[in-house]
């Protein structure tokens, strides 16, 4: 059992949408780090497992005035009334009070998928298939992260394995605090454009807490009142307007909304 050492943290992210070029590096790094198996032939956007899924969203203009933006979407780590946590019948979702990270316990998950219907961000993924790797790739799995079995739900946990390693390292050095440089989620690390800023939102000196308070920083569906800890940033007005809109837009557009 982990004991919370040191001060209370509130890990969060700010994603600069203007910097994201949709290369998919974060998605792939995330899958490798967290032992997410590659897709089988039948898998697609709706039934595959990408803890970090990137959507393409464009403004409502016609070619060539059209503009697109990539939106990486993953567990938004809701702080308040965490929708998935409250609905799980057997406490397989927990929010760590010392880090604010919403965790999923696949070993306890029943696979009822109630949490998936509860999540407005569609950030939860169900193992519809048994995980499959080629024999050799099985040797290349991350030894710090347990692979999940068929029939359970999984999702982004801010690379919990890395937090664990960082804590162990801190403990070995006799420190009560982890070194922020030791705990960087795979997506943050792998982003070639450094579009993702990660850190403690409670610590007012961190980049992430300052960025999160920027004028052009917003959160998706913040009006639901769940206080997500993943922020998005864009200097483009249409992106911010789009994020505030509810549903009509995508209905009107109809194409690749």
């Amino acid at each position: 059992m982990e004991t919370s050492i040191g001060k209370k943290q509130k890990y969060g992210m700010v994603i600069d949408l203007d910097k994201c070029n949709g290369c998919g590096g974060c998605t792939v790094a995330c899958a490798i780090e967290n032992n997410v198996p590659p897709a089988l032939e039948k898998m697609n956007k709706r039934n595959g497992i990408t803890w970090l899924n990137i959507s393409t969203v464009s403004n409502n203009e016609q070619f060539p005035k059209i503009e697109s933006v990539f939106i990486p979407m993953f567990c938004q780590q809701c702080e308040k009334e965490t929708p998935c946590m409250t609905v799980c019948p057997q406490n397989a979702v927990d929010v760590d009070p010392s880090t604010g990270i919403v965790g999923q316990v696949p070993q306890r998950c029943l696979g009822c998928r109630y949490c998936m219907t509860a999540c407005p961000y569609h950030a939860r993924y169900f193992n519809w298939w048994d995980p499959e790797w080629t024999e050799g790739m099985k040797q290349q799995l991350n030894p710090d992260v347990a692979p999940r079995m068929r029939g359970v739900v999984e999702k982004c946990n801010f690379c919990h394995g890395r937090l664990h390693t960082a804590k162990q390292k801190a403990a070995a050095q006799g420190s009560r605090e982890i070194n922020p440089a030791d705990y960087v989620p795979a997506c943050v690390e792998s982003c070639p454009n450094k579009a993702i800023t990660f850190g403690d939102l409670n610590d007012l000196t961190t980049n992430v807490s300052q960025l999160s308070k920027s004028e052009n920083t917003f959160r998706f569906l913040s009006r639901l009142g769940t206080e997500p800890k993943v922020y998005y940033h864009s200097e483009k007005k249409w992106v911010r307007t789009m994020a505030e809109k509810s549903l009509t837009r995508s209905h009107q557009e109809g194409f690749n909304g």
Binding site: N21, G24, A31, F63, P64, I66, S68, Q139, P147, S190
Partner: protein, 701 residues
């Protein structure tokens, strides 16, 4: 004890038994075990245990030369990341590079030499012995009526030199490299300046404006980390002139959406504005031998006339021309999306001419000459596909693992002698091109063997590094160098080569002896001047343990005499019988290699990149054709037809069809999968060696 067992006794016994069992730990233990079993059943792989170590190497999936830092468990890499503060990559590796350690375990890995029996479309693979294969290859080389050719994916490596030596000793040997993406324009430039044996690179770090004609600069071009660092620095303005709203177009400061195929017109239109507005210095005008002739050609490409074809506002052209001259340093680049094929030589020349007109060659922030890696032999230059006569190649040896996603088989086929050709593939994987070959000899997979990493394309200074193996070499693999050696000895060709490692050591000795440049050591992130390294052996050790040698910049010289030798007339408008089909891909996924199955996350599960067999059209085009989102359709060209899925996107220009040449659905299907038909095969390959535009039709299926 009662003599007769009554029903009552049985009931009592059963009831008591059940109660007893329930009170015992047995059922509860079983219940608990059932849950534990679901967490540990055989369908879930066991994780490796062992010491966690770090190792450095370099990615060889493409020519980008990215340094990688691998986390290993029991010596097996499980997570790759970039090397922090790396001078060339700035700590970045691309999406494919992140998963390059999987490649040795790709489902399409070939573990035995094979020959293909029967016709291409339904041939069967038969395992053969290595000796028999080598004998057969040597025999075909000895008996060859036409030329012997080697297709080299990544030129400038040590093995490339071996290939060239081998070919120089055959009659009519042809050394071919894949259509180069980064330096297509450089080739034209070198020709115009008549400086064929010099290497050029781009001094992006000091430039202020990059005008790119379709080069996927921000989508894996060159060394991806270099380009993203450049973009993040915000010191450079990117103008992308491209028909597609590509990733680069999306991320650029300005996107000029031209009609595909009109790049040359725009380039010459810009040249016209430069000349017309007298923005070209006299010094440059004087250095260009055929300037008057060029001026006359450009007159044809006046804004009014080009506007009617390209639809680009003359004001925009004017601003670009102004920008090129007014900004302190500017570079004009070409290079299409790798799936889309190279430009024809005329276009490359037209684009190259802009650099010469603004005089950025040899200037800071322009196109600069770079010193070669010491010891690199020059000679037996590669030949362009367009310069190879049709039906002239008897034997083709394909090095590495060209996936065939950026090189249509039809282009290769056109150059082979029909019915009497012989293709050998030296590939670790079964892929599009190796599936078309006659013999397939498995080579070591990525990160399985020691390789040299020469200067990435487009770099302004030379560099050299080693790709140290991170994975155990499999005994069924054959280093291409050994294969060539064996073939040579069987075809009575004498090569002056020893072992590959010897060649590498020789190279490093030469680098050490030249006392040029510095090395950047990954483990401690230190830079060491080469002069401070006592011996070549130590340099070898440092390079194998993770370091890169970086040359010093060369002293720049002015271009000298320039001959444009351009003879382009304003094109006639032609009416198309159908829609222009624009093929596109993604650097890495569509260049030289297959991709890791985990890349299915990007292709299949996020639909971030379209898979092969997906065409995108504008909503207006969709209405015109009566097609619906994600509907099925048949895409047909002169070369045939295939079933595709239609994606309707407003980002696509109305009236064109964009077709993705990314891998098959999850990159692990066999290339000859009936549904995995490659869209490239539908593209028309012109005599220029390009397949940029094909006329196609899309019908609802």
């Amino acid at each position: 004890m009662p003599k007769v067992i009554t029903r009552r006794d049985i009931l009592k016994f059963t009831g008591g038994g059940i109660l007893g069992i329930m009170l015992s730990p047995l059922p509860w233990k079983l219940l608990d075990d059932s849950a534990i079993w679901t967490q540990n059943w055989s369908l879930i792989p066991k994780l490796a245990h062992g010491p966690i170590t770090t190792a450095f190497s370099h990615c060889t999936l493409c020519t980008g030369g990215c340094a990688i830092k691998a986390e290993c468990v029991s010596g097996m890499p499980y997570y790759l990341r970039g090397v922090q503060n790396h001078p060339l990559t700035h700590g970045t590796i691309c999406t494919q590079g992140l998963a390059s350690h999987h490649m040795a375990h790709h489902p399409l890995r070939i573990v035995h030499p094979h020959k293909f029996v029967g016709k291409t479309d339904n041939s069967t693979m038969v395992a053969v012995s290595l000796q028999n294969s080598l004998d057969e290859i040597a025999k075909r080389i000895r008996d060859a009526k036409g030329s012997i050719a080697i297709l080299d994916q990544q030129p400038n490596r040590i093995i490339s030199e071996v290939y060239r030596e081998f070919l120089s000793k055959t009659e009519n040997g042809k050394y071919i490299t894949s259509p180069s993406r980064e330096d297509g324009m450089i080739v034209a430039l070198k020709e115009m300046m008549n400086r064929p044996s010099e290497s050029f690179g781009f001094d992006f770090e000091n430039t202020k404006l990059i005008v790119s004609f379709g080069a996927p600069l921000l989508d894996g071009w060159g060394t991806p980390g270099r380009m993203t660092a450049l973009q993040n620095s915000k010191k450079v303005k990117f103008i992308q002139i491209e028909s597609r709203y590509s990733r680069t177009a999306m991320q650029s400061d300005e996107w000029i959406a031209l009609q595909s195929g009109t790049e040359k017109i725009i380039a010459l239109n810009i040249a016209h504005v430069l000349i017309n507005e007298e923005l070209i210095s006299h010094k440059i005008q004087n250095s260009i031998v055929d300037f008057t002739q060029f001026k006359n050609i450009c007159k044809e490409f006046n804004p009014e006339r080009t506007f009617s074809i390209t639809g680009i506002d003359p004001k925009t052209i004017h601003l670009i021309a102004q920008g090129l001259v007014k900004s302190e340093a500017a570079i004009v680049l070409s290079g299409a999306d790798p799936g889309g094929g190279p430009f024809d030589q005329e276009t490359e020349k037209a684009i190259a001419s802009l650099n010469l007109l603004i005089g950025n060659v040899g200037e800071t922030g322009g196109i600069v000459s770079r010193k070669e890696i010491p010891g690199n032999k020059i000679g037996y230059d590669p030949i362009q596909w367009s310069n190879i006569p049709d039906h002239s190649i008897s034997v083709l040896i394909v090095d590495g693992a060209d996936s065939g996603y950026a090189l249509p088989w039809s282009l290769i086929e056109k150059k082979l002698i029909p019915d009497n050709n012989f293709v050998v593939s030296l590939s670790p994987l079964l892929n599009e091109i190796s599936a078309h070959s006659d013999y397939l000899i498995p080579s070591p997979a990525f990160l399985e063997s020691m390789n040299d990493v020469p200067t990435p394309n487009g770099n302004n200074v030379s560099s050299f590094a080693l790709s140290t193996p991170l994975l155990k070499k499999q005994n069924y693999t054959n280093d291409p160098i050994d294969v060539i050696k064996e073939i040579a000895s069987r075809s009575n060709i004498v090569l002056k080569i020893t072992r590959y490692e010897e060649l590498l050591k020789q190279k490093i000795e030469t680098i050490h002896s030249q006392k040029r440049g510095t090395i950047y050591v990954y483990a401690d992130q230190s830079s060491i001047n080469i002069k401070d390294i006592p011996s070549a052996n130590e340099l070898w050790t440092k390079l194998t343990e993770g370091a890169v040698w970086i040359d010093e910049p060369s002293k720049q010289t002015t271009p000298g005499k320039i001959i444009f030798a351009l003879a382009t007339a304003f094109p006639q408008e032609t009416k198309l019988e159908g829609f222009p089909l624009i093929a596109y891909g993604w650097r890495g996924a569509t260049s030289t290699v297959q991709i890791s199955p985990i890349l299915s996350k990007v292709f299949q599960e996020t639909e971030l990149r379209n898979v092969n067999g997906v065409v995108s059209i504008n909503p207006t085009t969709a209405r015109q054709l009566g097609l619906s989102q994600k509907g099925h359709a048949t895409l047909s060209t002169k070369n045939g037809s295939m079933k595709v899925i239609v994606k309707i996107e407003s980002t696509v220009r109305p009236g064109i069809i964009e077709a993705s040449i990314a891998p098959h659905v999850n990159g692990i299907e066999t290339p000859r999968h009936p549904n995995g038909n490659n869209i490239l095969n539908l593209c028309e390959v012109t005599n220029n060696g390009t397949w940029r535009i094909t006329t196609a039709n899309l019908l609802k299926a």
